[in-house]
Symmetry: C2
């Protein structure tokens, strides 16, 4: 069984909801270590009548700090201590809902990149099941980075979907080859030519739903816009629909449909996915939403444990070696 370290001080609702999420994860059978302010965490555990191991870390990295500098200067920040537990082999993976940049820097500097990886990337699993790489770690990239993102996204799909040869699409502004910027032209040619990638060509923003592909690769700026747009529009449309049927004459009918609508909403809720994998580093690293609730944290721990059990890091390493040579 794997041990997952959780940065208990990162996230909008830390440490309370993070601790509650870890308690829930432990209840589901996961082996969890809390990292953070020892006194506060022990008090919370006592309040929740739970007994989980705590590793003390007196420092916290704020959302407004420069991540790389903060990681260098605050050796005892909770996210750094959690990453170091993985680097030292005391934990098999770590989860953070704090600053994404800090988690990225902690994983890259303290755990380290896998051989051949040019840029670690964020592989975000959208509630529809689509995996988007990169979701925001690398705002400007070259075509060869997108090829590595394709390989790493496919490894996440193998673990998450259980598909051995997942499809990979290149996010573009049209389906026809030849669409897009120089980046997409170059990446299209490379992705077509690399053995071992099941490249299905260009895909569009709408393919975040539907059945065109499992993995969508793009630069981190566009990927982040794609994910936030999809999430925001789904939420806005849900609200507009409820407003459209807010009249008294609709209430009885709405009550009849509500169970089905709530079940759909739960299925599409990002809380039920739990987070994103940081791929390309030598240890399992799950980045949870900044506003993660206990449910999201418990799911993020489960996602990390699943990635350990199914050897996500080894799959990424072998995939990268296959496209770059040993």
């Amino acid at each position: 069984m794997s041990t997952i370290a959780v940065d208990a001080m990162g996230g909008d609702r830390a440490p309370d909801e993070i601790v509650r999420g870890c308690v829930e994860a432990a209840r589901r059978g996961h082996d969890v270590v809390l990292v953070g302010d020892e006194e506060r965490l022990c008090a919370l555990l006592e309040r929740f009548d739970a007994d989980l191991p705590v590793v003390a870390s007196p420092q916290v990295i704020g959302m407004d700090e420069d991540p790389a500098r903060a990681i260098r200067e605050k050796r005892d920040a909770s996210v750094s201590v959690a990453a170091r537990l993985v680097a030292d082999g005391a934990a098999d993976g770590f989860v953070s809902a704090g600053s994404t940049g800090a988690a990225l820097a902690a994983a890259s500097f303290l755990i380290g990149r896998l051989p051949g990886v040019k840029r670690p990337a964020i592989a975000s699993i959208f509630p529809t099941g689509k995996i988007v790489v990169d979701a925001g770690a690398n705002l400007s990239v070259r075509a060869e980075h997108l090829v590595q993102f394709a390989v790493m996204g496919a490894a996440v799909s193998q673990v998450y979907h259980g598909i051995e040869h997942p499809r990979v699409g290149l996010l573009n502004i049209g389906e026809e080859p030849g669409k897009g910027r120089e980046l997409e032209h170059d990446a299209f040619r490379l992705l077509e030519s690399v053995a071992g990638i099941r490249f299905v060509g260009n895909v569009e923003g709408r393919d975040i739903a539907g059945d065109a592909t499992e993995v969508i690769v793009t630069d981190g700026f566009t990927g982040n816009v794609l994910l936030k747009t999809a999430e925001g529009v789904a939420r806005a449309l849900y609200t507009m629909i409820l407003e459209a049927v807010s009249g008294d004459e609709y209430q009885e009918a709405l009550a009849t449909l509500m169970p089905a609508l709530l079940s759909l909403r739960a299925r599409l809720d990002h809380e039920n996915v739990g987070g994103a994998h940081l791929v390309g580093v030598s240890g399992v690293t799950v980045i949870a939403h900044g506003n993660s609730s206990r449910v999201a944290i418990a799911n993020a721990v489960g996602m990390a444990a699943d990635a350990v059990a199914k050897d996500l890091v080894g799959r990424v390493a072998r995939g990268i070696e296959a496209v770059t040579g040993p």
Copy 2:
């Protein structure tokens, strides 16, 4: 009253639906000139028992042709003839549902850019009323281009929303200043410093709905991804909701809600907006969806006539002059 020339040969459903749309626009009181294959158009008009002026144009530009070359080589393509009617003053604006690149090239080469405009851009009006510039004309841009997009988007908002000082947001991956690529850093500083732009800072993909801004500026690649993602996700969610309540036990309740749901869908349908303005050129140019129906075409003609009546081109010209000097 203004005269609007319509490229009757461009679009997936041309010329039938285009002609029907023009007949509908004329019925609504607009002055329309059809441009295209004279014989086919006259036959269609006779079939629809309508009498509209036709300007003959024997050539058509296909979706797969290189737009700039096609405009140079096919002087008598329908989109070129329509643009030339505007350039010559025989029409006040033109509409095309054909190749966006061809319409862009025809407008730029044949009608010409306004003084000081570095890059004409596509200002797309999303069904929520948000104006996105650029929606796909310029895939790679510099900060000074985004400032011009802000000015031109504001002019479209003045015409479309009737707001004299519309808000402008910069599409980014977070709201805090300092987020984004070098492009966004530079553009943020410029947009803050230019008098006459009501800059509200960074906005995110979700702001395509909601009340944060009227205008969203970004490069044409990201803008195109934003719009297609929003449209695709809204459509997918609508389908998922209908599937979720497809069981027999829900049909009576669904029938009760259907009028409200259909009215919301109609309000959010891109057909009811009609198209996008190509801004920065010396004549009103409306780019309609490739799959435009008669309703979309009639609305696009209305949109062009409205832009003529409210002097969109003059507003853009004065706005650009104010930020660049005469």
